[in-house]
Symmetry: C2
Subunit: 320 residues, 2 copies
């Protein structure tokens, strides 16, 4: 285990792949590895990319990688798919296409497995980012498939979130108009060679005029044809400008603090969840309580309040 | 508060609407209300309906309500949308259409608000179902929009889950084929007047032949045109047959036990999450620990382990 962390720090791609698998699986091994490598994390610029299926996210990621490599930066990509029950096939195809870049030793692409519940997937993503950072990647792209609640939450673990639209993305533009602005720091209308691209871009821009922007950053709306690379230098430029803005305004510190708070909350929730799961299987008193709830003698809220005291009160005693 | 629970038990729709708002908001009021009404819950048949946007879920729910009413049963509908950032507009339209049924005092339709994270939305749904049951509704339909991970989890809080497809739902059929069978107890190919409906139905059926079915239930695949009501009596008949199967095989008890376990895990996770949230705002020691993590002196996993002991160990002491 300790040799894995050393190899990751030395830049081994093989060790990195293994380390990400370990943090995906969770458990004591993952905790140990994160403890070892955490001091070396926190240095990369994290870019989240999200948008509905079909808007061309993977092609855009592909084209963005090419831009980032022109600046001679090392880039890692985590493709997270919390919705895998339904999109398994489509994603696999995308990933295979992206593997073109794996000839380049400075690009590392990895699909993240589904951890069963959304919170768990987000936690594994945080730790996978740390592994990439410890391995010396300068930029990490977190791509999520789909626009569900869990997908957005994961994309927003990044420093800079790019929302990808396409001409005729009526629902999304409507949502942006109705004030759900914090979704994106940069908006990209991809497939810009289709009719209506400029109209969609203008609609998004108009929605900002109506909204009161919460910070000093005015999200740019860019039109791209990722397939041909058109507009991609502007996207990468906007990402760098946003990063500069985050650093100079102090917003980066604020965001990272807020994200860490969210992660800690999710971590304690995860510990509580797993602890109860163990007890439900092995502890006679807990099984007894479950029976009482099933026979409607105790309600679930009261049961949970009692349980959480028991789960962690006891181990506290054991420590004393 | 106590008068609300009495009014719900007496069948007041106004009190029911208020009660669902209270459980959506959470907190001590919700806990109190659930404690009061929990003994009267657990009697309804819960039907989950899910499927991709555009397959006609709401029309199908509409048509299913009409079928259920012919049996003179009272029906509640909870429309849950964990993906609301992006589909706000579309859903609103659907809901307004469904309001046709509100002239019928034995139909109660309600959209559930997004609780910020998927686990919270599922918890509020469990409690909203209890309110409907206490108010005397015989059947509760839980409709989720979209097919993300959170959406599926919520649809699967039901006893009977219906997965709605349409002709040409290639991705979904692919997912079913690849063995993610437990998604649906009943499969409906809606928009059956479009070309390819029977082909899609046959593909789904074929996928069952390849899979080893885990239980004695063979999921039927039905073709409907919900718009005209075609095929809807068969859907309602299949739902009733599935319910009978669940009861006679003992599967209903097993499923409800598994769901209750999942709910308890989510409840203790929620308590841990909220407890830490309070401390992050008010407790100097916790703020100090957060600083240490931000400066990379303590890793998040170790911090969370320490925190959860402190959160619940202390209050244990206070109780003694």
């Amino acid at each position: 285990m300790d040799s894995i962390s050393e190899d990751v720090l030395a830049g081994s791609r093989r060790a990195l792949a293994r380390a990400i698998t370990i943090v995906e699986d969770g458990g004591p091994e993952a905790t140990h590895l994160v403890r070892k490598l955490f001091p070396y994390s926190g240095k990369a610029h994290l870019i989240g990319i999200t948008g509905s299926p079909g808007v061309g996210k993977s092609t855009l990621v592909d084209a963005l990688i090419a831009q980032i490599r022109q600046d001679n930066l090392r880039v890692g990509v985590l493709a997270v798919d919390p919705t895998s029950p339904f999109t398994g096939g489509a994603i696999l195809g995308d990933r295979i296409r992206m593997q073109d870049h794996t000839l380049d030793k400075n690009v590392f692409i990895r699909s993240m497995a589904n951890r069963g519940h959304a919170g768990g997937t987000a936690l594994a993503t945080y730790d996978a980012v740390r592994m990439l950072e410890a391995c010396g990647y300068d930029v990490v792209i977190i791509e999520t498939v789909g626009v569900g609640q869990s997908e957005l939450a994961i994309a927003q673990t990044a420093d800079t979130t790019i929302l990808v639209l396409m001409p005729g993305s009526g629902d999304e533009v409507q949502a942006i108009k109705s004030g759900i602005m914090e979704i994106g720091d940069i908006f990209v209308v991809n497939k810009g060679d289709l009719p209506g691209a400029n109209k969609t871009a203008t609609e998004v821009l108009h929605s900002f005029e109506l909204a009161e922007l919460p910070t000093g950053w005015r999200p740019p709306v860019l039109v791209t044809v990722a397939e041909s690379g058109q507009g991609m230098p502007e996207v990468w430029k906007a990402v760098k400008e946003h990063h500069r803005y985050l650093e100079e305004s102090g917003e980066l510190k604020k965001r990272r603090k807020a994200k860490l708070q969210a992660e800690l909350q999710e971590l304690v929730a995860d510990i509580a969840r797993n602890n109860l799961k163990d007890r439900l299987e092995h502890c006679p008193q807990v099984k007894e309580l479950l029976k009482k709830v099933l026979s409607h003698k105790v309600d679930p809220h009261s049961a949970a309040q009692g349980l959480i005291q028991e789960l962690f009160g006891e181990s506290q005693e054991a420590k004393v």
